[in-house]
Amino acid sequence: MTEFFINIGYLIAAILFIFGLKGLTHPRTAVRGNLLGACGMLLAIVITLTDQRIVGFEVIIAGVILGAAIGAVLALKIEMTAMPELVALFNGFGGIASVLVAGAALIESTLGGGSSFVQTTVATAASGLIGAVTFWGSLVAFGKLKGIISENAMLFSGQQVINAALALIALALSAGVVMDPTNVLLYWALVTVASILGVLLVIPIGGADMPVVVALLNSYSGLAAAATGFVLSNNVLIITGSLVGASGLILTNIMCKAMNRSLTNVLFGVLAPTGGGASADEVYAGRVKSASPEEVALLFDAARRVAIVPGYGMAVSQAQHPVANLASLLTDRGIQVEYAVHPVAGRMPGHMNVLLAEADVPYESLKDMDDINPYIDQIDVALIIGANDVVNPMARTDPTSPIAGMPIIDVDKAKTVVIIKRSLSPGFAGIPNPLFALDNSLMLFGDGKKMVLDIITALKEA
């Protein structure tokens, strides 16, 4: 096929990607949107296979079969609760693919003997740098989400200095690649340094900040693809890479806003109690009331409007199905049930929504924080399951608190609050939660899933 038709085909593929993303603006059109994107990808691949430079297909076919098989198994087998891990892993694979493609292109250009264009070498260095940071950063994020690596923030002295030094070395090596593209070793040195940098950048970030990290790495994987597009002078890579880069950046920004923190603070800062503020004993002493599942069931029986506020704890105890059963039981009794989802609840953007969708919760009853807060005082019972910092009223009341100014779901304004929690241990921010000691709060101590099942039993018996 001529260059002309190849480029027209790539243009159509890019248009399909854009329409595909546009489809994701509503659940009704989203499945079709995803299919459009897949069609675009298939078109781009088929066109590429007609390229004159290809002398043999056996290596390509072997690679496609292997990759497709692993990808399909992962996609079909993965538990919905493990979705953050999978997305982190896929981000990383996108990054490493860019590293490998740019590396191969660099070697091929040295074979030709001709001098490379500066833009090509700059883009090669960028692919190697961003791709390697994405790959290793994603692997660390995967390890943290999976629990292979400690989820806690790992800090050591001189961390910033080491990172800064590594970043400088990486930039120097990038300059080296640009000035002497024939020296392929410089490229692999750059990739190695960028790999170490990727590990060190993500290691210090704690579990609850993972939504930001996963979104940011998503953006990087797009930028790496765009950089590879500049290496190959291929517009469809540039367009697609920028779309994904923009998408990741928007999500990163939304996540940061939802925590009232800057990106720099999430990546390099430490979320630590400022020393001031009340201790757990002062906040809780004598004021925390605990309830039994039967008492909570009675509360529900008398309620007209119920809001369920899920957090990461719901994912950990796999409680989404019992929660949905409880909600439909209440709905059957004429009680209006809604879900209030905080943007950073869980370990990735939209994590809670996917789990609830898995449990057949209707899309319409999933409410964003900003939608439900204005009328939360009309809610008779707010049931908190596995959420802590995102419902801590200290974010509003105590300007010295580490979460000061973070937008929260104002459940403390609901008529009654029931909190399912194992103990009074603090959440990720490490601070006590005065919500647990409010007059209208009841603690239901225990495992999330078991407690919800107990409430259901009590409701049925009553």
């Binding site: 499945v31 990759g67 693919a97 779309l243 880069g245 923009a246 899309y363």
Partner: protein, 93 residues
């Protein structure tokens, strides 16, 4: 130079298109958005296919092969898992 300028033009314009569309996506669909955009970032497969197919040296072919594996994994896994999630949202709407 001309190639670079047109490349940068496309890059910048595509970022604007991305911002316009993606800001309209509701928070509920943010996880499928991530996995779906992830799948399309596997477009690097196009470059990987060229390296694996041109077979200039053993090294470039090997690099190309590995890139094909990772990029295909990204594409196939990404689209399939996104579809699985979106079907769950769809059946109740």
């Amino acid at each position: 130079m001309e190639l670079l300028i047109s490349g940068i033009t496309i890059f910048v314009l595509a970022i604007f298109v991305g911002f316009e569309i993606i800001t309209k996506i509701p928070p509920t669909l943010h996880t499928p958005l991530m996995s779906g955009s992830n799948a399309i970032s596997g477009i690097t497969l196009v470059g990987a296919i060229l390296s694996a197919g041109a077979q200039q040296t053993v090294l470039t072919t090997t690099l190309g092969f590995l890139a094909v594996v990772f990029a295909t994994l990204n594409v196939v896994g990404g689209f399939m898992v996104t579809n699985r999630m979106l079907e769950m949202f769809k059946k109740k709407s």
